[in-house]
């Protein structure tokens, strides 16, 4: 199966779920779906097309919305599933039921972009420090953090 056939088959299987699909380069496909269709899309891609391997999840803040990108791979191509979500109420469903290896990446976007992953099996903080002030999401473009003034214990006032 080559990439062109793969794209045609994905179009046939997913039908109305697809918002946009294109293949800009060799072995690269970008597919856009809505957040409510994400889990179903992942299941279909895994079971019918062999996209078992999730390379990572990237999050991009475009200031009008958040784009979440799931980079999947099989032996033909590397497919990126793109989901665009509302910036005021950023919520996506977990895909850990479909791909268990997604857990660390979901925890990472929760920490750094402040996206709520619904029904995530393990919601603990992954990369940020334990004493991190809540509501600070470093990878958001409008994040403007002012570090508190450094105090050295025992220094002269």
């Amino acid at each position: 199966m080559n990439q062109q056939e793969l794209v045609e088959k994905i179009k046939l299987e997913l039908g109305g779920k697809i918002i946009e699909i294109n293949a800009p380069a060799e072995r690269r496909i970008f597919l856009t779906v809505a957040a409510e269709n994400l889990v179903d899309t992942m299941k279909i891609l895994r079971d019918l097309f062999g996209f078992y391997h999730l390379s990572t999840i990237s999050g991009v803040d475009t200031l009008s919305s958040f784009e979440i990108l799931y980079h999947l791979a099989n032996n033909v191509s590397c497919l990126t599933v793109k989901v665009s979500i509302n910036r005021q109420n950023p919520e996506i469903p977990t895909i850990c039921d479909v791909i268990p290896g997604a857990i660390l990446y979901e925890r990472e976007i929760q920490d750094l972009l402040g996206i709520v992953v619904k029904n995530i099996p393990d919601p603990r903080v992954l990369v940020l420090p334990d004493d991190w002030v809540k509501g600070n999401y470093p990878l958001r473009k409008d994040w403007n953090y002012q570090a508190p003034e450094e105090k050295i214990p025992g220094e002269k006032k």
Binding site: R27, Y52, T56, S58, C78, P100, L104, V127, L128, P129
Partner: protein
């Protein structure tokens, strides 16, 4: 039997990365393992958004000290795709040469660590001595032992001359002979094989479901290598074999890496003998039109992936980096379940972040009562590593 939780890390003199493992044991058997990250989170992705494409090469190089070339190559080939640059063949070949030499030095280092964890210290000293040969080769090519800084957008920064080529072939000839000796030694030395066989089992289905990468995945019988699946640079022109093992244990991971060493020697020899003539780089534009790209690379530890989004300026809108070790953590937790305490360092080292245990203290917390005691390594050895204790429990595998 009462359950005890042992914290390993985050600070440990022998650890490459500060990582914290919480291991719950029942007697001698690990029941649950948990990993806590973030002790070394430097905000590189955020920093990359405020630097130019050229500055970012040197930033991503510093993500890792062992596979520094992996990150720069993954990054520059993504940026090259974004601006539609055609890199000259000679540049690609030199890039691949450094990449394979880096794989050789990383695998030799790992082989030493694995041998040390298995208690085979003479092999450790041999491999680390021989690793100096490949480090010297890298220094001859790039001028640096660790951060080679050979990549630039549009090609490489340094050319190769005949004397350098000769020296590389000489070094590879020596390493080939040594590696053959280690293969012979490692597969026939009964104590070494007995120590690593059947330890850290990761079945094929689990390895796929937990998205493991690199030698860890290949040792579970999955033939996946980005150099074959998604050939970058000029890997589609180079003959080499994909190395797998189907034992799904630490022995398999040793076999895969030793086989890969031999394949890497072949690749290096092929590159030197078939090095194309011509330019080594092309000029790159400073600003890049809005676009996005996914770049993949087979680092010594597995798949490395960069996602780059440009926005028309000379700085990227977003740079996402996922290094192979992160992808292997869920699989490591699976491997640690139902193993012995004495196997923890071996299993953890087998994915390649080393957690070799020199002298250290651990705190033992009684899971029910909450009492804690601090023991020295010698006391732990006496308490948990002695052979009598091992005989009293049922073999869990």
């Amino acid at each position: 039997m009462k359950k005890i939780t042992i914290p390993i890390g985050p600070q440990h003199p022998a650890l490459k990365e500060p990582i914290s493992l919480r291991i719950t044991i029942e007697g001698e058997v690990v029941k649950h393992a948990d990993v806590r990250l973030g002790y070394n989170h430097r905000g590189i992705e955020k920093l990359a958004e405020s630097r130019t494409y050229i500055q970012n090469i040197y930033l991503v190089e510093r993500i890792c000290g062992i596979c520094s070339h992996s990150h720069t190559t993954c990054y520059v080939q993504g940026v090259e795709k974004l601006c539609g640059l055609e890199v000259p063949k000679r540049g690609l070949y030199i890039r691949m040469l450094v990449c394979e030499l880096e794989r050789i030095h990383s695998h030799l280092l790992w082989l030493g660590v694995a041998a040390h964890e298995a208690g085979f210290d003479s092999l450790f000293m041999y491999t680390w001595r021989d690793r100096e040969v490949v480090m010297d080769l890298l220094e001859i090519i790039s001028g640096n032992r660790v951060h080679y800084a050979i990549n630039t957008i549009g090609g490489v920064r340094r050319n190769l001359n005949e004397i350098q080529k000769e020296k590389i072939l000489e070094g590879i000839k020596f390493l080939k002979k040594r590696t053959e000796y280690y293969t012979n030694l490692g597969t026939t030395e009964p104590t070494f094989v007995a120590r690593i066989a059947g330890v850290g089992i990761l079945p094929k289905e689990k390895a796929i479901a937990l998205c493991a990468v690199g030698p860890t995945l290949r040792a579970s019988g999955v033939s996946s290598d980005i150099r074959k699946d998604d050939p970058y640079a000029a890997y589609d022109e180079i003959p080499f074999d994909l190395c797998t093992a189907d034992t799904c244990d630490v022995l398999g991971r040793v076999v895969v890496r030793v086989k890969e060493l031999i394949e890497s020697y072949k690749i290096v020899e092929y590159i030197i003998k078939n090095l194309p003539q011509g330019e080594i780089k092309v000029k790159a534009p400073r600003k890049i039109q809005p676009a996005e790209v996914v770049s993949r690379y087979e680092a010594p530890r597995g798949e490395n992936i960069h996602y780059i989004k440009s926005n028309g300026t000379d700085k990227p809108e977003r740079l996402k980096v996922r290094a192979p070790t992160l992808a292997n953590y869920p699989a490591t937790i699976e491997m640690l379940k139902n193993c012995f305490v004495a196997d923890i360092p071996l299993i953890f080292a087998a994915i390649d972040p080393c957690i070799c245990c020199a002298e250290r203290f651990v705190e033992l917390i009684d899971a029910k009562k909450g009492n804690s005691t601090v023991l020295s390594m010698a006391e732990i050895r006496k308490k948990y590593y002695s052979t009598e204790t091992k005989r009293n429990v049922v073999w869990p595998l």
